[in-house]
């Protein structure tokens, strides 16, 4: 593994693999969150399953954490290496003439998503880990015996400032995905007759998923 990471193509490939994994995770995360709009009970049951099933908790969760850390650490490493590859900047550079803003600013959209993840972990992941593995309460229930997941979700979106921050973060997520989706396929060598269709699907994914997350945040803010 470390051998292939020493080459530029190997690093691209590893970045793409972690991106695929994160995009699949994002889809799954979105699907479960969307349940909260339609049925609080179903959302509670699925959340409890995801939060207590050992395969998810002890196998998938560490892989996810590794994938997230790997993706952003490698992103910063590549950015530093790439900056070194041009020791003198152009006095005049017309980047917009040949590439999209999204493709040229992946590091900034990525950094914004990383900052958002700090807030997201503070809001949901750290309290969850504390309740389950430090306090030791695996019941997933409130004092009144009802599941706590839907209640906690709605409570988080009471504050308007938090909703605004989430919306901004999802806009950056959309910008990141608008380039990242098709870029990941190119990095693994997939550029063929399906590329045009794949790019269209990627654009739809990059817009629909973040828009869906924004809808869910607004829905709970307006219906708490």
């Amino acid at each position: 593994m470390s051998g292939i990471l020493n080459s530029s193509i190997g690093r691209k490939f590893a970045m793409a693999l972690s991106a695929f994994f994160l995009m699949i995770f994002l889809l799954q995360h979105f699907a479960i969150n969307l349940l909260s709009v339609f049925s609080a009970d179903t959302f509670n049951e699925v959340s409890h399953f995801m939060g207590t099933f050992w395969v998810i908790q002890y196998l998938m969760q560490p892989v996810l954490i590794f994938g997230v850390i790997f993706h952003f650490v490698m992103g910063f490493v590549l950015e530093i290496k790439n900056n070194k590859a041009r020791n003198i900047s152009y006095a005049k550079n017309n980047g917009a003439a040949n590439s999209t803003w999204m493709s040229r600013n992946m590091i900034w959209s990525g950094a914004a998503i990383l900052a958002f993840m700090g807030l997201h972990f503070y809001d949901f992941w750290f309290p969850e880990i504390n309740t389950k593995y430090i306090v030791g309460d695996m019941s997933g229930q409130l004092a009144n015996g009802e599941f706590r997941y839907f209640e906690e979700l709605q409570h988080k979106f009471v504050d308007l400032w938090r909703v605004v921050l989430y919306v901004i973060a999802f806009v950056f997520l959309a910008l990141h995905l608008l380039h990242g989706f098709s870029s990941a396929f190119q990095s693994v060598g997939a550029n063929n007759k399906y590329t045009k269709g794949l790019k269209g699907f990627g654009k739809a994914y990059a817009i629909i998923i973040p828009l869906g997350f924004i809808f869910i945040a607004l829905f709970h803010h307006l219906n708490h």
Binding site: S7, S8, R11, K81, N82, G95, S103, S182, N192
Partner: protein, 248 residues
């Protein structure tokens, strides 16, 4: 037309360069960009100043020598052309044109607008060839059947003139379009298969050694390439490299 030129002047590879302003007058819109540079240099020589050093050879868009970054784009604002094929009709009377050398740590400036692109040569030497016995018993090329599609794709890749516009345009100074084209032109043909594994591994290793950046698929290289080399060549190189790595 009358123009103001902002040109990077650098005495030698060790000197610190700077942008210097020049005025040129009565430039015909039918001139090529290099002919406009010739007019400027005549002006400079006549006034006892050092002419601007720039690379050029064929002036037909084939040699890939004329490496200038004009108004923020490799080979200027036109598409599918080298600097020698860029005409002054692309500019307007009174314009200010910024002219810089191709910028990359792997392409050090030798003087003014001339950069050292030997890094490309070293990448080619690492594997951009096929070993053919030419001692008199060479097989006739036409005796090896090649599909029209493969021949066309290989020829498209082989049209890369190694000018370096891909490196200059890429925000990461990546050379992957150049190396992708050179790997592809052999990977697509039966003659290239024998050395395919070593070729891609050695060329990519040399590319990394030269200090080029990592491709992030912005596609700027494809847009600015004077020969229209496609990003498909980078994808093919990626596949070839990953496959070669798995084979050991």
């Amino acid at each position: 037309m009358n123009l103001t030129l902002k040109i990077w002047r650098q005495k030698d590879s060790k000197a610190k360069g700077q942008m210097v302003d020049y005025k040129v007058t009565d430039i015909s819109e039918h001139m090529s960009f290099l002919e406009m540079m010739d007019v400027l240099n005549e002006q400079l020589v006549n006034s006892g100043e050092e002419p601007v050093a720039f690379d050029h050879d064929c002036r037909e868009g084939i040699c890939g020598m004329c490496s200038m970054y004009i108004n923020g784009e490799a080979h200027g604002p036109d598409r599918g052309v080298t600097t020698c094929q860029l005409h002054m009709r692309m500019f307007n009377d009174g314009d200010t044109i910024t002219i810089e050398p191709f910028r990359a740590a792997a392409f050090p400036v030798i003087k003014d607008l001339v950069v050292d692109r030997m890094a490309f040569e070293r990448i080619q030497q690492a594997g951009g060839y096929i070993s053919v016995n030419t001692s008199g018993n060479t097989q006739d090329a036409n005796s090896i059947p090649i599909s029209k599609h493969a021949a066309d794709e290989a020829m498209d890749a082989a049209t890369c003139i190694g000018c370096g516009a891909c490196v200059a345009s890429c925000k990461n100074s990546s050379a992957m379009l150049f190396v992708g084209a050179k790997v592809s032109q052999y990977a697509l043909l039966p003659q290239g298969q024998v050395e395919a594994v070593d070729r891609v591994k050695n060329m990519v290793a040399q590319m990394d050694l030269e200090g080029f950046g990592n491709c992030t698929n912005t596609g700027a290289c494809e847009v600015e390439c004077p020969k229209g080399i496609s990003l498909e060549n980078i994808a093919r190189m990626n596949r070839e490299y990953l496959s070669a790595t798995l084979k050991g």
